[in-house]
Each structure stands twice: as structure tokens, then as C-alpha cells.
Symmetry: C2
Subunit: 258 residues, 2 copies
Amino acid sequence: MATTSLPQKIVLIGAGNVATHLGTTLYKAGHTILQVYSPHIKSAGALAKKLNAQAITDLKKLATHGSIYIISVKDDVVAELAKQLELKDQIVIHTSGSVEMTALKNTSKNYGVFYPLQTFSKNKAVDFSTIPICIEASNKTTKNTLKRFAKSISKHVEEIDSSQRKILHLSAVFACNFSNHMYTIAASLLTKHQLSFDLLKPLILETADKIKHHDPALMQTGPAIRNDKKTMEAHLKLLSANKKLKTIYKLISEHIKN
Amino acid sequence: MATTSLPQKIVLIGAGNVATHLGTTLYKAGHTILQVYSPHIKSAGALAKKLNAQAITDLKKLATHGSIYIISVKDDVVAELAKQLELKDQIVIHTSGSVEMTALKNTSKNYGVFYPLQTFSKNKAVDFSTIPICIEASNKTTKNTLKRFAKSISKHVEEIDSSQRKILHLSAVFACNFSNHMYTIAASLLTKHQLSFDLLKPLILETADKIKHHDPALMQTGPAIRNDKKTMEAHLKLLSANKKLKTIYKLISEHIKN
């Protein structure tokens, strides 16, 4: 198989947040979206309409003339879904941070991973050009095709193998999922005391902004890094009615101190 | 005492990050900085020079003709320092999130709190105009003076009493200190595996950016909120050599699920 040229003929398997943002970006970049698959006709239909594609709810109706088949579904159903596909030499990729590339090995001889390292939400546009796209492929030709494909939408394309990707994904859980949960805890404390979450927004944005040019370890502030026991004890007292939050506060403070 | 008019004559007690950023902003806004106190002449001298003020290292040399005395030192030494000051009716304030206003009650009859809700780092400029400034005062005249004073540098001035301020400060620890520590953990995982922290930066910035217009509770993504046990188990396996990180991962994931 020669390196496939642009534009690609895409079949999108999945219609969630990643599929929606990625599909929209690919469509705008000039790629053709042939089909959007989802078991739910409403989801497949809505996205397909936006992308000028066909909506399907049955994998038996999958187009055979696609050049790249993108599986963009929940991490824990990628492998299961891949088993239901039978392709020849068309490229099949998934977009998951945590799933082995080899989950696709029986689907086509040309397979790979196309992992956009970003968090995608409904109704919030993202600029794909700045998103790191982590590429892995079963062979060199597929890798080159995927790299060129990724570069059609992002300036930041990296070759990352499955074991590195696992570490990246784990790190992303801390940096994104867990930090967002810290925001959630803060917001709930404020709400409980009739204070507006707006008060914290400049602080949250500044804390994140710092990492653009600074090592977060050197930017740590607050009572734990100062080992300000009096303040930490006062905080634990405020949390005394909430055992779980108290445990979280203690544990993270201990980890900051060490 | 009548409401003092602008510009104020400021005595700055402290020369750390908050004192530096606040002092610089006040100076640029047209207030006069009379003195900068620090026990370390190098710190006092460097900041005083920038602010066209006198550097002092002995509290006995404190000017008596200031209109507002700002104690901007580490939370755990505010009360101790306040005890060493003797003012008449000049306003004395501290800038701490966690210290009771009454820590200043013996220093002057006009006292209060001026808490800028932001994280300040050396060598990183911040735009004070967007920072919420939380005001509390021992009497109405002082409150009005402080409000006008705060409004000379910020568009976001709020009356917040000591008990609310404690909750705000606790929330800020979660939203800022703890989320920054999550970035630190992520960065250390990446470094350990020869991956660049740059890969995570767009993700961190986007995660924070979301809270501008969305409730973080509704924006939660990742394996925990999906209850994706397989991925969480794989993550815990990757962390098996680090018991503390494993405990943190488990605890926060549990808290997200519930």
C-alpha cells in the first residue's frame, strides 16, 4: 500500500465528544466523511448531518471504500467494537489514550492509534491545531499516512508507542480529571456556604496559566508547602463534617510536603 | 475619622510575593509607598527601590504618617507581627486568606482585611484589575475607605467576613494548591518516562478554561466518572511502585464516582 494522499475518505465509528470534535475538524480541513456510525440513530444522525455524511446504526452497512476508519468510542468498548469490523487493507485507528494498539490487530493489517491529547466537551469548541496528536502504527506506511493525516489538522504530531501512551494517559488523569475534580470540590464548598464560584475563577485560570512557562513543582504555594500547620489544622476543622474531604485534604497536603 | 481620599500613603510590611505584586500595583495606580519593611535588608531594599520608598528592617523606624499599613507576610506570622505594631487611628490591614481580622484588633482601632484572591509568583506579572479583592473592616468608615482603596486597583471588590473568608481560602487550596500539585504529579510521571510535560499543557489550559462558563461537576471526564474499572486498574498497576500515588489515585477516583 502506498502512502495515501489527502483528502482521506473517513468512516467515523462513534458519535460522542471526541468523534464530534474530531469529525468536525477533519471535515473542515477538507477530508470527506463517508459515514457516521452509532447504535443510536439520533446521535449518528445529528453528527452525520453536520458532516454531510451517511448515518448508520448497523456495522454491516459500513462502507467498504473508506481510506481511514476511526473508532472513537469509550475506552472500554474499543476492543469489542473492533472485533465486529472486518477490513482488508484500509487503515483502522482508535483515538483512545488507554487502549493497546493491538486491540485492532485482527481488524485490518494496517492499524494504528490517533490519540488527541485533549479533553472534549459538548458545546465547547476547541482549536485542534494546538492539540498534541499521538500517533502509533502497525507499519511504516501506515505511520506515514497517519502522520500526514494528523498534520492536516494539528501542528503538534508526535510518535508515541503504546507503553508511553499509557503513561501519558495516566498523567492526563492527574493533570485534567483530578484537577477538575479539585475545582468541583472547591465549587461545592463555596455553594454550601452561599459564596459564588466566580470568586475562584481568576485563581484557577492563573494557576493553570503558570505551567506554560514554569515547572509546577516550583510554583507550589499554600499552607502545605510552607508546612503551615496552624492553617492546615484550621482547614481540617472546617472539613470535620466531611470525612472523605478531610482524608483527601490530608493526603494531598502530606504529598506536597514530601 | 472621615473616609480617607486617594492617593493613600502606604506602609508595606512584608516584601514577599503578595507584597511585591500588590505594592507594585498600588504604586502604579498612584498611591505613595512610604516604606517597605522586611527583616531582611536585601528584600526590603529591592522592593523599596522599585516603589520609590524607604527600606526599613526595624519596626521601631515605622513611619507614623502613613494612612494604610499593609501587613503582607506569611499567614502564620501575621498575628505575631501585628503585636509589635502600635498605631493610633491609622488603618492597618492584612492580606491573608486564613487569618482572623481580629488578629489586628490591638494594633489600631481601624483595622481590616484586604485579601486578593490570587496566587502570586515571583517574576510572573498578574493583572490586578481582574482579581477579586475581599474586604472586611472593623467599622463602617474603614470599610468604605478600604473599598475605595481596593477599587483603585480592581474591578472586583467584595465584602467577605472572616468566616466566609476561611471557606474561600479552603476552597482556594483545593482549586489552586491541590490542582497545581496534580500538575506536579503528572509532570513527574512524564519526566520519569522521558516524556515532555509540554504534551500536557494544552490539556491543562483547556481544563481550566472550561470553568469560565461551565460547572466543573458537569465537565468531569476520565475513567472514574465513567466507572471504567479496566482503565483504573491498569493505571493502578502502572503506579504499583509508588504506594502514595496509588492511594491518591484511588481516593480521588472514588470521590469522583460518588
